[in-house]
């Protein structure tokens, strides 16, 4: 509780928000605040200026790209919005399925997809999922827009490709095509609790993408496993064989909830479970 003194601004437009972020040293965008405000309570970090994005209606929209190939989710879209979105339901239901298990209802009502990924706490749900889904992030600054892939986006704990004076405006996820299936598996601290390890998988016509959470400061692609599954054999035996050695290839942190060894093991098990379920869903 009890935050340090901080300046607060509530811009009406994206451009204004970017201007404030650019013109103020130590300025930080405030989305849902479900992590940032907590970190400020602990005084573990203290931004000098908070730029509240609450009034930026553009960032609260969920829409399709013109060719319908991409689902664009505004950075200020809350988890609860994603859970209830008919667009998400049609285009990429896994997003709603996962969003519904983030923290708790109060947090989902305030917490946004933009905040969730910009924080990039290793235990967060969206980072590994979006890497697996091959999502891309659009970042805006005075110089205009740039788009980076999910892999390029995550740089470290609380660190992303969003630089000073920049603002994440939306997340774009490829819309589901026939023959795609997505799933997320893992072990949490109690039902819907904090992830100890998570794994997201997306199976599609052109192969599988697997991303592991909680094992590093950024989501880790299971590239070797993906390669081994290129043949498209998603039988339990094949998937388990493909995952063999995945755990050993990781260097996860150990903490009170899991030793590095246990995390490595869970990563392998979770990856297998995620791929198997994703494959099953891909078969429809």
């Amino acid at each position: 509780m009890l935050l340090r003194e901080v300046e607060y601004a509530r811009p009406a437009t994206v451009d204004e928000a970017i201007a404030i972020l650019a013109d103020n040293d130590g300025a930080r965008a405030l989305a849902g605040g479900q992590t940032l405000v907590n970190v400020m309570k602990a005084r573990a970090a203290a931004p000098d200026v908070l730029v509240d994005l609450a009034d930026l209606a553009d960032l609260r929209r969920i829409s399709f790209s013109d060719d319908q190939s991409m689902l664009a989710i505004g950075a200020m879209v809350t988890s609860s919005q994603i859970v209830a979105s008919s667009e998400v339901e049609v285009a990429r239901p896994i997003l709603a399925e996962v969003a519904a298990t983030i923290a708790d209802l109060q947090v989902r009502n305030r917490g946004t997809i933009g905040g969730n990924i910009c924080v990039n706490d290793p235990t967060n749900h969206f980072p590994p999922l979006l890497v697996a889904l091959g999502a891309s992030m659009t970042i805006q600054s005075r110089d205009g827009e740039r788009t980076v892939s999910a892999e390029e986006f995550f740089l470290g704990v609380y660190l992303t490709a969003v630089g000073e004076g920049e603002l994440l405006t939306r997340v774009s996820v490829p819309t589901r095509t026939t023959g795609t299936g997505d799933a997320m598996a893992g072990v949490t601290l109690g039902a819907h609790g904090t992830y100890i390890v998570s794994a997201a998988a997306s199976v599609g016509p052109d192969g599988v993408r697997v991303a592991i959470g909680c094992v590093s400061s950024v989501p880790v692609r299971a590239l070797e496993m993906e390669k081994r599954l290129a043949g498209g054999d998603y039988s339990e035996a094949a998937v388990k064989a493909a995952a063999a050695g995945l755990g050993a290839s990781l260097d996860p942190p150990s903490d009170v909830h899991a030793s590095a060894e246990y995390r490595s093991h869970l990563a392998e098990v979770s990856a297998v479970r995620a791929v198997l379920q994703a494959a099953e869903r891909a078969r429809g």
Binding site: V39, A45, A46, G156, L159, S217
Partner: protein, 150 residues
Amino acid sequence: MNVSGTKEFDAPRETVWAVLDDPAQMAQIMPGVESFTITDERHWQAKVKIPLGLGGLKMTIDFEKLAETPPDFASLNAKGKGVGALMNMTTEFRLRADSPDRTTMDWSADVKIAGPVGSMGQRVLQPIVNQQVGNVLSALEAQVQKAKSA
């Protein structure tokens, strides 16, 4: 928390040593250094703002060189004091000249972090330390190359 590793440089040992032995150049490779003062050749102090994304973590770090045997071994202690965080790091490195212009560095560090930041939990602390170490090493790489071409 113990972190350690090995790093190879495409440069002579003397060059690498020169960089590591020079507080001024060390300042170049540390994250978010805002000011740097050298008390004497064994003691120096840095005011840093470690970039933590959610707003930097301001710290005053006092360095003390504990031991050195030029041109291959040194160990130093860094005590950081910041609002909400205390850091105590002891690190040492050993340089091996693999060839006239290739050097290998074995390094290790014992990092202790206390205070509210420490209470945020290892789940973020260990990755944060790893990522800061990574930044330092790549900055060192660059600094060595600079020194070499200089």
